[in-house]
Symmetry: C2
Subunit: 181 residues, 2 copies
Amino acid sequence: MNKPIVPREIHRIYQGRTFTVQVETVTLPNGSELNAEIIRHPGSVVIVPVAADGQILLVRQYRHAIGRFAWELPAGSLKPSENAADAARRECQEEVGLVPTRLTPLGSFFPTPGYCDEEMNFFRADGLRSPTADETARPDDDEDIETRAFSLEALRQMIAAGEIIDLKTVAGLALLESRHP
Amino acid sequence: MNKPIVPREIHRIYQGRTFTVQVETVTLPNGSELNAEIIRHPGSVVIVPVAADGQILLVRQYRHAIGRFAWELPAGSLKPSENAADAARRECQEEVGLVPTRLTPLGSFFPTPGYCDEEMNFFRADGLRSPTADETARPDDDEDIETRAFSLEALRQMIAAGEIIDLKTVAGLALLESRHP
């Protein structure tokens, strides 16, 4: 059984800006029937921006969903028909103000496959440079972002101390460390 | 600004089995107003079960949201008023059929803080033993789960090869490796 199961019925509950909520009726491989509550999401990119001195750039912003500020790797959703590498370039410029010269894929992973189809596409970004005059990009209106460079050792300590609370940041740094260039 | 922002208005869109969908109107720290589409989730546990020989136990199941089978660390949502350690013990027994003698917290992280408040509580589980006759636990009806033990080296290769596609598994293994007992 390697083919996806086609739902017998789809009931769309909410079509939002970022995601769609649906109840999908499916018959599982074991024969049982399930009304699956599913978040449909366009997918996203997560960037690990590596500065010339080896430090990693993180961004800090207020996250209303969790009621806290969080240090995170820069990231964002794919726009319609945008490919992941283009989105990574755009988000890197929008969030840290620098354009990557080189992007290296670090893999694609699902953060919450139990109820959401968001796929996060991870990229290492090197050769960060200032944008030229005709390269315009600006954050969304609701984004108020601080950027800072951290050593890998400092980030390891922040994870152990509970000062980094974002899962994609933990995973992105592990993916970086597992693939030395 | 360290206190959470209280929404001016909450519009509940869907109350599901696993999560609630709400549009919450908030005024952000920078003064802009936002209708935030939020998934409210009870939180979850992720278990890194370490066998006596050092191998890690993973489970494989069909994930309808992504239309694929996936190898993952055992995990599950908190039940109402259940604490994380109790949930970890219960999920470990339900999913791999073994009861952990010792649980070590590996940290708590948000997989998708941009739109969802699910917090994943990671635990290393050691001293895995068979349940006694009065320790009953069984998987949910929609769970049809295969268990297998892997070496850390095999798991690293599966991540690099794209054979592990679940983000909490990547992060959980990294957390395990960063904290040798």
